[in-house]
């Protein structure tokens, strides 16, 4: 069965010089694609999770009494929302990367403590996190003050009110917008290509540089993988939305 499959694509490549699906019949290339998919998934999962943590934390800090804290959060949002994520990534890797300490396991090679994958996760999380803060903030603002007041009148502390009342409601309100931002984030992980993170786009470029005949098929593969990944994310998010739906509640 597998032989038939590889044989078919070998045949296609022979007959059509521009449609060399080399990753379907050459194990080395298939390995590159698989590694690329793993890195892409790693980036996506790490960035989605940490950008959400940043979003929740930022939205919480925005309610702080301290002007300084609120201004810092605002400054962070403005900086990361209003500059291109690509420029941010290059800045983190090439500028800040120079300043980070290094370690040397063999006394010869100097390895920075934050790898390019690390910088990609940090930079993309901060980028998407800035949007998530705004998304959660608008969710929080949509929770009526009177609901919080009821919690206050029952003796809830500020933290309890946030944790048990405001956040669960705000999160539900925020989910559709969050969904959009996370889809964008997953696609933006391809930019890590520029700092040589061996994610899917990087691996595809490696393959088509070696085998120009494989360029169209690898591009096609990129589309298929991203469409599927985003589909899984959107499916998961909408399942989550449904699970959190409150009977009789409008939001």
């Amino acid at each position: 069965m597998l032989d038939l499959f590889t044989e078919f694509f070998r045949q296609v490549a022979e007959e059509n010089p521009r449609w060399n699906f080399i990753f379907f019949y050459q194990e080395i290339q298939a390995g590159k694609i698989w590694k690329g998919i793993q890195y892409t998934l790693l980036l996506a999962v790490c960035c989605v999770v940490s950008s959400m943590v940043i979003g929740v934390l930022g939205a919480w800090l925005q309610r702080s009494k301290s002007m300084l804290v609120r201004a810092s959060v605002q400054g962070y949002i403005q900086l990361f929302r209003n500059t291109p994520p690509f420029v941010q990534l290059l800045f983190f890797y090439f500028a800040l990367g120079q300043l980070t300490p290094t370690y040397s396991p063999d006394g010869w090679l100097e390895i920075p403590i934050i790898s390019n994958v690390g910088w990609a996760v940090i930079s993309l999380s901060l980028f998407a996190g800035a949007f998530n803060v705004e998304i959660f903030r608008s969710g929080i603002e949509a929770v009526p003050d009177s609901t919080q007041e009821a919690a206050e009148a029952l003796g809830f502390s500020k933290l309890q009110t946030y944790r048990y009342i405001v956040f669960p409601l705000a999160f539900r309100i925020s989910l559709p917008a969050l969904n959009n931002n996370l889809v964008n984030l997953v696609k933006t992980t391809t930019q890590a290509f520029a700092i040589a993170v061996p994610e899917l786009l990087y691996q595809c470029v490696v393959i088509w540089n070696d085998y120009p005949s494989a360029q169209y098929p690898t591009m096609l593969l990129l589309f298929v993988v991203y469409v599927s990944m985003v589909a899984v994310l959107v499916f998961g998010m909408s399942r989550w939305e449904t699970a959190l739906r409150i009977p009789g509640y409008d939001h």
Binding site: A153, L154, G155, R172, Y249, D250
Partner: protein, 252 residues
Amino acid sequence: MQLSDSWSPSDPIVSIKNVHKSFGALEVLKGISMDIMKGEVICIIGPSGSGKSTLIRCINALNDIQSGSITVEGQEVHDPALDKLLLRKKVGMVFQQYNLFPHKTALENVMMAPLLVLKEDEDEVEARARKLIKKVKLEGKEDNYPGELSGGQQQRVAIARSLAMQPDVMLFDEVTAALDPETVKEVLVTIKELAADGMTCILVTHEMGFAKEVADHIYFTDRGVIVEHGSPDVFFDNAKDPRTQEFLSQIL
């Protein structure tokens, strides 16, 4: 446990003395004083914007005051050193818009504060919550979300939620104002039963018939001052102040 050691049950449970309260330049309470004894039912009536709601919101420190004093069981409410939690254990509040937690079922709404705030045992709290839901005649609705209940039912859950904290004083802020006329009655019946059980109740209300029937004492406020007060019989039949007479003639 009571809030202040110097307080004895024969003293007023809530004592308001010369309270002034402003929102910016607008002074809404201009020297209000009243004493409320344990077990009394007090109705505060008056035209919109007369400061009624603000007054009862000051009693559980949802609003602060500029001067004067409010004590609950002898404890100054607006003492910055007071742990608000202690106050809120003693004083329950029900709002015009119910303000239930929409993502929690009726039972969860009632159980939440005793569990989180008082850190009581879950089984005990649940038993008490079920009893309270039965008391407000909502048996069978325990697992419904607020959005699935009518306004009157939601308001009764809100009353049960407040009672779950086992307060000594209940504040009702125009609790029937947002309800359909046919559901007003069910909420009033609940409050009436509560009053009959001896709960100290302070109500801001426009339900004159209810005030007349249930209140021990009625206060009429207008533009931030108490214009007139007295027992319902005296107040409704022999109002002396022209402002009170005008107000009563408009609504009775």
